[in-house]
Each structure stands twice: as C-alpha cells, then as structure tokens.
C-alpha cells in the first residue's frame, strides 16, 4: 500500500479531486468554444453592426487568444466573478446567489430526511432479513428506484395537489423578495419527491452492507460474548456497515444536486434548476457554465468527504493505510 498514513491519503485524494475539477473546467470552457456563431452576435441579434460587434467582443474579451480567455474565466471563477448573464446582463453571481441558497435548502432538507430514513430502513431490513418488512421494503424500494424523479413529482402532484385531493400547492409559490421556507406547505411536495427519489437507493446499499457485516466473525463473536442484540447491532455492526454507505450518501447528495434540476422544474421552485433550464433554452452560457462548475465541485467535494469519512469510521481500514 501507499505510505504516508491518513494525512497522506487525505492529501492524495484532495489533489486528485482538484485535478478532476481542473479537467472539468477545461471541458466546460471548451463547450463555449464549440458554440456555433459567437456570443456577441447572439446578444446583439439583428441590430448588430460591425462596430458594435467589435466593441462587444472586446468587452467580453472574445478578441483574445483562447488560452487567455480560459485563464480569465478560471481566475474569475476563483474570485467569485462568474461574468455577466447574456440574457439579462446582470452579474451571474448576483443572479444565482439567492437561487443557490434556495436549492441548497431544498437539498439539505431532503438529505436530512432521507439519509436517516434510508439507514433505518436498510438496517431494519437486514436485521429482519427475509421477514415481511424486508421483502416488502425491498420490493417497494426496487419499484421506486426505477422511477425517474419527474415522474414521481408529477404523480405526487396528481395525487395530492390536483386530480385526487388538493391538500398541497402544486407549485412552490414565492412572492418577490420572499424565500421558499416562508411558506413550508410549498416545500412538502418537492422535498417528498427528492426523498422518494433518493431513499430507495441508499436503503438498498445499507441493507446489503449491513447483511455482510451481520454475517461476519466479529459480530458472531460479540453475540457469543453474550452481548444484547441491540448492543451488537448498534455498537458492533452498524459502525462497520456505515462505511460503504457513506460513499452512497455522498453520491446521493450529489445526485440530489442534479435531481433538483428536474424536480424544481416540476414545482416551479425558484432555484438553480429553473435557472439552468432557462440558461440552456436561452443559450445563456455564463449561467450554464457557472452551474455546471458548481454542481461538479459539490460532487467532487462530497466524494472526497465520503472517501475520508469511510476511512475514519471503518476501524479495519484505518490500519491498512
């Protein structure tokens, strides 16, 4: 194995994550270069004159060499300067900031509900293996995991907001200047959709991981020592079973960051999803680039945390470093 102990491992993983992000930034930037026509013409439209085009190109730094443009863009990113939206000329950071906070709140709330729920379902299914709860939960999670999240969202709208009963709002209505959490009834269906989209998958991994641990020698040993079953499960089995699940939780939080795009669109939620769909429709590339980099960064950082957390919580892996 590599040397350097736990700090060496963290350092290597962090450098690898940065490398991935650097390559991602090149790819995202290259997407701009592949654009047919040029952004200056796209902004000015039919009112373009050779003079105004040249002026705007200079303003957008489109007249500089590609490498220089990339460098400007990356250094801007690192300083929080994401350029101006092509659609409304507003700085991208000002435009996106409240939306990112809204989406972050949605993801966080969904994560806070779905992760403990998934762990509980997975552990209980493993402990009651092949009993009614296990069989039932396995089947339900299998069916729900197959459904695309927008289908789940629309079905919830049909069931709880429109056709069947009208208990909840079908869209998250936020007055100008307001926040989605001002009226929590509007949060119920988006959060429920994301929870339904994420929980099955984590629960299934948790169950498999827990079953493996419950069959291990040290759990057998703990049982033979005469420890109570609850102690065996919670103190001996669960910490070891959580290791692989951390990976899955990270992947799913990152998946939530992608899943919010569609779910926000279903509920008209004022977040990055709507901004991204709008940006793609209008070909507002600075907005799309910023959001792509944001989501990729969230993804890489979460995976990094998961890798490190896995090492820290899994006693037998600490010693192999």
């Amino acid at each position: 194995m590599h040397s350097g102990g736990i700090w060496g491992f963290i350092l290597r993983r962090t450098l690898l994550g940065l490398l991935v992000l650097a390559v991602v930034s090149v790819l995202v930037f290259a997407a701009t270069q592949a654009l047919p026509g040029d952004p200056a013409r796209a902004i000015l439209g039919r009112s373009a004159t050779p003079d105004s085009l040249a002026a705007l190109r200079a303003k957008l730094h489109l007249d500089q060499p590609v490498l220089q443009q990339y460098w400007n863009w990356v250094t801007g990113l690192l300083h929080g300067d994401l350029g101006n939206s092509l659609a409304n000329q507003e700085p991208v950071s000002t435009y996106l900031k409240p939306l990112i906070i809204n989406s972050g709140f949605l993801v966080l709330l969904s994560g806070i509900i779905s992760i403990p729920l998934a762990i509980a379902i997975g552990v209980w299914a493993a402990v009651r293996r092949d009993k009614a709860f296990d069989v039932g939960s396995s089947l339900i999670t299998l069916l729900l995991a197959a459904l695309p999240e927008f289908v789940v969202g629309v079905v919830l709208v049909v069931l709880f907001a429109t056709v069947v009963v009208q208990w909840l709002p079908a869209v998250t209505q936020v007055p100008p200047g307001g926040r989605p959490w001002d009226d929590m009834t509007g949060m119920v269906l988006p959060v429920a959709t994301l929870v339904i989209a994420v929980t099955p998958y984590v629960a299934r991994i948790m169950r498999a991981s827990m079953i493996e641990v419950l069959e291990s020698d040290y759990v057998e040993m703990a049982r033979l020592k005469g420890l109570r079953e609850n102690t065996v499960i919670l103190r001996h089995a669960l910490p070891n079973a959580l290791g692989p699940t951390f990976q899955v939780i990270a992947i799913n939080l990152a998946y939530l960051a992608g899943g919010v795009i569609v779910v926000e669109y279903v509920f008209n939620f004022p977040g990055i999803g709507g901004a991204l769909v709008g940006g793609v429709s209008n070909r507002d590339l600075p907005v799309v680039q910023a959001l792509a980099m944001l989501v990729a960064t969230v993804y890489v950082v979460l995976n990094l945390i998961a890798d490190i957390a896995t090492i820290l919580v899994t006693p037998r892996m600490r010693t192999t470093l």
Binding site: L142, F150, L276, A292, Y299
Partner: protein, 300 residues
C-alpha cells in the same frame, strides 16, 4: 479454521458468478416472478411504442376539438393543449424516446465495457489514466452533462444520444473493470497469453464471456436510467422537436390543465413509469439469478 482450508471449501462467490454462463443465468432469472412481470411490462410498452403509430386513430398533429376538451367519441382520451388527440399522441409518443434510449444505452455499454476490460487487463498506467478519465465524466450528474451539451449545440437527437451514452459509459466501465479484475488473475488468461493469443482476442474471447452476467444487469439498469433521462429532457422542453409527439413533452405541455383534462398527463406518466419499472424488475431478476442468492443490486 485455517485460511487455506477455508478457501478450498468455500469458493469465492465472485468466481462462481463469473464462470456461470449467461444463458443459464437468464433461464434462472425467468423463473423469478419479478423478471416475468418486468418482461411483460417491457414487452407491452415496447409494443405500444413501436406499433402505436400504426393503430393511432388520428395524426398526432391533427386537431380534434377545443384545447383540453374532455374525452368524446372522436377523441377517446380528450384533446391536449392545442386541441390534438391525446390517444394518438400517446401512441406516437414512445417511439423516439425508446429508440434514443436504446441507442444511448448500447453506446454506453459497448464503449464502457471496452474501457473497463482494457483497464482491468492492462494493470498498469493505462488502467489509472482510463479510470481517472472516467472520474471526470462522473463529476457531472448525468442530466447536467446533457444540458451543457444542449446549451451548446441545441436539442439534436444525435447529441442527446451521445451525451446520455457518454455519461453511461464510465458507470459501465467501473462495473466491468470490477468484474473483470479477478478474472484477469485466473490461469486461463495467463495460458492464453503464453500461447501468444492477441490482446483483442483475450479481451473478447476469454474475459468478455465471463462478465456477461454483470453486463446484462448493467444493460437493464442503464436502459432504465436512459429512458428516464431522455424522457426527462423532453419534459424540461429539450425534445428534438417542440410539438413532436413525445411522452416527456406531453406531460409538460398538458400539466397546466391537469385538473380539467388529466389524461394528457396521466397516460404518458403511466407509460414511462411502467416501462422503467419493467426494465428495473428485469434487471433485479437477472442480478438475483446471477448472484444465486437473495441480494440487492451489486453496485450503482
């Protein structure tokens, strides 16, 4: 119990599944109810998507009544947001999604398994380079990469297929590499190398047949996600044509009047849901048969 005798008595589960032939795995899978139900769902939905256009009572763009009018003798499921026949558009709307999802999945599966096999077999710098390249693609949620591509070029069919296929690729590559790694270490691979069998034949004839079970599970799993993704993109408004009949587009177009005329939403939602549940059930059946034991999905 000593380690040596332990290994001798109970063979590793991976090697057991690896050497099981794909044909017998499929036969075992078909003995499970979940596989049968899944298969029936898939066959029915694929039949609707493929042959629907031939039995549709109207053209998908013909006007049959006022927008969002209720079911009548002429339009059995009512009219949509423009007054077009919901039933006809439903019968037309699956073909494009299914064809694109199948192509994208095939692309991801072929190139993903190729990358995975190469990485597992090379066991050197190539393995590292390939898998790090996969990490870069994995740094985007699947829909994000598709949206970036659409923002650049527009919602072209080939682009959506390519984007979804490209994001499927690293996920397949990881599974393939994981399944092939223990096989690469086996004696028959070394024997083939010693005989001077060319590399592509070792990959195709020695390794590939031994990882068919996990690849079949991946096939159904990836098809499930590709259908959801492509329908989801259409739902977001990124279908290949703005008024073309498409289940995803239909849901979005008709959901503003969901209360008055729910059929324009319910039919396509039901179709996508049953189709993805069907492919999901088939995948789970194959994965259970391949593992030979009651188990969930082996990996992402």
């Amino acid at each position: 119990m000593s380690v040596v005798s332990d290994v001798a008595i109970t063979p590793e589960p991976e090697s057991v599944t690896a050497t099981r032939r794909s044909g017998s795995v499929l036969r075992d899978a078909l003995k499970l109810w979940r596989t049968r139900i899944g298969l029936v769902l898939v066959v029915v939905l694929v039949a609707i998507a493929s042959f629907g256009p031939y039995v549709a009572p109207h053209s998908p763009t013909a006007f049959v009544g006022p927008p969002f009018s209720s079911p009548s003798a002429n339009a059995r499921l009512g009219a949509d947001y423009l007054g077009q026949d919901v039933l006809s558009r439903f019968l037309w709307g699956g073909r494009g999604i299914l064809a694109m999802a199948a192509l994208a999945t095939a692309f991801g599966l072929v190139f993903g398994s190729l990358v995975g096999l190469l990485a597992a077999y090379s066991r050197n710098w190539l393995d590292d380079v390939l898998m790090r390249a996969m990490d870069v693609i994995l740094a985007f949620p699947q829909i994000m990469l598709a949206l970036v591509a659409i923002a650049t070029v527009g919602p072209k069919a080939w682009l959506i297929v390519l984007a979804v296929g490209l994001t499927t690729l690293p996920r397949v590559a990881r599974v393939t590499r994981g399944a092939a790694q223990p096989i690469v270490e086996r004696d028959f691979v070394g024997a083939a190398e010693a005989l001077g069998v060319p590399r592509y034949r070792i990959l195709g004839r020695e390794l590939l047949p031994n990882i068919m079970s996990p690849l079949m599970v991946e096939l159904s799993l990836r098809l499930t996600y590709s259908i959801g993704l492509i329908a989801g993109l259409a739902f977001l408004g990124f279908a290949t044509s703005t008024n073309g009949p498409n289940w995803g587009t239909m849901i979005n177009q008709n959901r503003i009047a969901i209360q008055a005329q729910p059929w324009g939403v319910i039919m396509p939602v039901l179709a996508i849901a049953l189709l993805t549940v069907g492919t999901g059930l088939v995948g789970d059946g194959i994965s259970r048969a391949a593992a030979g034991i009651e188990r969930g999905r082996p990996s992402e």
